[in-house]
């Protein structure tokens, strides 16, 4: 309960800190942060499910859907308003989540991981085939507008960054409140023993479905922002299994104990990737792999365990 009391304060501090960063960081770092925070939203969705013991290897499904909402709307209708696109992405991924959530709530462990993976790969295959939607090469996404405001260059990166920060802080705060609510706590109970939860009268399937839908929506928001920032969507960069794998990596790196650590982990991954690609162009995979192993070995409960000593 102490945490809950502090949540608004923590959120306020995070918001102020992230906004302040916008005025000190160079352009490339601002962009990296935008992408990292947006992708962090997707991993936050994985955390939501991880608290109940499920890990999805197919979050690219929702990330990709969100990204394609931005791409297709810009391409076919010319809609570029970021608020409208975000709402649309939330609707689309929410509906898909409602459809698949109950089905997937029957699956556990590796089967849940693999079935979610195969769903994402079916979307990948379908979009790769549809040349009218850009096929494997994908589509370019027009720069976003903000209710009529059409920024360019630095103003654009800045607006996009601030928009991402606001979304991230709102989503993070909301998730903290949800995690600490009675419904959210059920997830932790399911993680330790789902049969007991059933016997106590709570519905495990309902909790899983709920978490699935939430993670779908978070994935969609991450996708729409990333697509607008990058300016391009294609199946390989947004839906392929390696992308889903990265989201899981960030979630594991962060652990499910602390929400800010999800975004911190996402930023760390982007930084490591970017610099290893520059300094070891021939062996950046090796560097990334070693980094990954070190993290898993030294931080069994993720980054979050450094700040939050509670154990589930």
């Amino acid at each position: 309960m102490k945490i809950l009391a502090n949540t608004p304060l923590a959120a306020g501090l995070a918001l102020a800190g992230l906004i302040a960063l916008a005025f000190v960081l160079p352009d490339w770092a601002l962009f990296l942060l935008t992408i990292a925070l947006a992708k962090g939203l997707v991993s936050l969705g994985i955390i939501t499910q991880m608290r109940a013991g499920l890990v999805s290897f197919g979050q690219g499904l929702f990330f990709g859907l969100g990204a394609y909402v931005a791409g297709l709307m810009a391409h076919f209708t010319g809609v570029t308003d970021i608020f409208l696109l975000t709402v649309l992405a939330v609707l689309v991924t929410g509906i898909v989540g409602v459809v698949f959530g109950p089905l997937l709530s029957n699956y556990r462990g590796i089967f849940f991981a693999m079935l979610s993976l195969s769903l994402s790969m079916i979307l990948y295959g379908t979009l790769s085939k549809m040349t009218s939607l850009g096929g494997t090469d994908g589509l370019n996404v027009a720069a976003p507008t903000f209710v009529g405001y059409e920024p360019e260059a630095r103003a654009l990166s800045l607006s996009l960054y601030l928009y991402t920060v606001v979304i991230v802080v709102i989503a993070g705060t909301a998730m903290r409140i949800f995690f600490d609510s009675q419904q959210g706590m059920i997830s932790l109970a399911i993680r330790s023993n789902e049969l007991r939860v059933e016997y106590l009268g709570a519905s495990v399937r309902r909790a899983h479905t709920q978490n699935y839908i939430i993670s779908a929506i978070l994935g969609g928001m991450g996708g729409v922002i990333t697509a607008l920032a990058i300016g391009h969507v294609d199946p390989e960069s947004s839906i392929f299994w390696t992308i889903s794998g990265e989201f899981v990596f960030v979630a594991i790196l962060a652990g499910y104990l602390s929400i800010p650590s999800v975004f911190a982990a996402s930023i760390i991954l982007e930084l490591v990737r970017s610099f290893s690609n520059l300094y070891f162009p021939n062996t950046w995979q090796l560097a990334l792999g070693i980094f990954l192993l070190i993290v898993i070995l030294t931080l069994p409960n993720g980054l979050g365990s450094l700040v939050d000593r509670r154990r589930a």
Binding site: V55, F57, L103, N106, Y107, G109, I110, F111, A113, M114, L115, S118, L119, M121, I122, G125, T126, S128, K129, N193, L195, R196, W241, G245, V248, F249, I252, N282, T283, W284, Q285, L286, L288, G289, I290, L292, L293, I296, L297, P300
Partner: protein, 300 residues
């Protein structure tokens, strides 16, 4: 009728290959509980090792006994297993046996990234070729088609591998110990089974089978960077369809996917890209844990 036969033969050839590349994966999962994403990289190492070894063999006068190259291929796979198993299993994986399955997947994802570059550092990016074993057995003419006899050798190899693994597990004492560990790790340990040893053996067998898959494939492809990536995905699909940890399941899954793919290429080429995921999704919807998984008791 003719078409059906062609589909069946093509499907069996591809299915046999699928089985060899996926049986090691399902074995390792069954015993160690780790879904090894680096399986594809081990397959690639087998292919590279074979390319180097068979190249050396023919360079050193192996032309006199060309059939000896098949023994060299098996030997190459064994060398990969002997070199890799101690490092990976003893050095790394054993730290994760008590952790979540998903952590295991992630650790092996890291290994996969590392091995991709390690292979590049050892063998470079220039492709290697060892087509001698592929041409050695000649052709089989059949109606309008020719098949390479080697394709049928792969089918034979798949049958031998499948039977050998099955017979080991079910007909030998040591195999039954492995089955006991699969069934209940803790109980076996209390009964005096050296679980560490079983794990290392099983992982070593998995690496050998992955490398053998690469070794058998090397003669018909260009051995070059990135050949392992695609293999992981199809191997996963096969063992998920069959049921994780089930040898029979991997065999049925491989044949099912092989024939489904052959049918799609001959009849509906448009759907080839997702036929494998389609089969997987359909099987999982009706059999959530794959075709061949025994129901497990849930622990309260």
């Amino acid at each position: 009728m003719d078409l059906l036969l062609v589909i069946l033969v093509d499907g069996l050839i591809y299915g046999a290959w699928l089985f060899i590349v996926s049986v090691g994966l399902t074995l390792v999962f069954g015993v160690l509980g780790i879904l090894n994403l680096a399986h594809g990289s081990l397959y690639a190492m087998g292919a590279y090792m074979t390319a180097s070894a068979v190249g050396l063999y023919f360079g050193a006068g192996g032309d006199a006994v060309p059939l000896g190259s098949y023994a060299v291929m098996i030997l190459a796979a064994a060398v990969v297993a002997l070199l890799v198993t101690p490092v990976l299993e003893r050095g790394l994986l054993r730290h994760f046996y008590h952790r979540d399955e998903v952590i295991g997947v992630l650790v092996t994802y890291g290994v996969f990234l590392i091995l991709e570059d390690v292979i590049k550092l050892i063998w470079g990016v220039e492709p290697l070729f060892v087509y001698e074993p592929y041409d050695l057995l000649g052709l089989v003419e059949w109606g309008p088609l020719f098949y390479v006899a080697y394709d049928f050798l792969v089918i034979g190899a798949a049958i031998v591998v499948g039977l050998a693994v099955w017979a080991f597990l079910n007909k030998t004492r040591r195999g039954k110990v492995v089955l006991a560990v699969i069934h209940d790790r803790e109980m076996s340990q209390t009964m005096g089974v050296n679980v560490d040893r079983v794990f290392m053996l099983a992982f070593g067998a998995g690496v050998f089978l992955a490398a053998l898959g690469g070794a058998l494939t090397a003669p018909m492809i260009s051995v070059s960077p990135g050949i392992g990536v695609n293999v992981i995905i199809v191997a996963f699909a096969v063992i998920i369809i069959g049921g994780l940890g089930s040898i029979e399941g991997a065999a049925i899954g491989a044949v099912l996917v092989g024939i489904a793919r052959a049918a799609s290429v001959h009849l509906m080429p448009e759907i080839e890209l997702f036929i494998i995921y389609f089969v997987m999704a359909v099987v999982l919807v009706f059999r959530p844990e794959g075709l061949f998984v025994k129901t497990q008791t849930r622990k309260i």
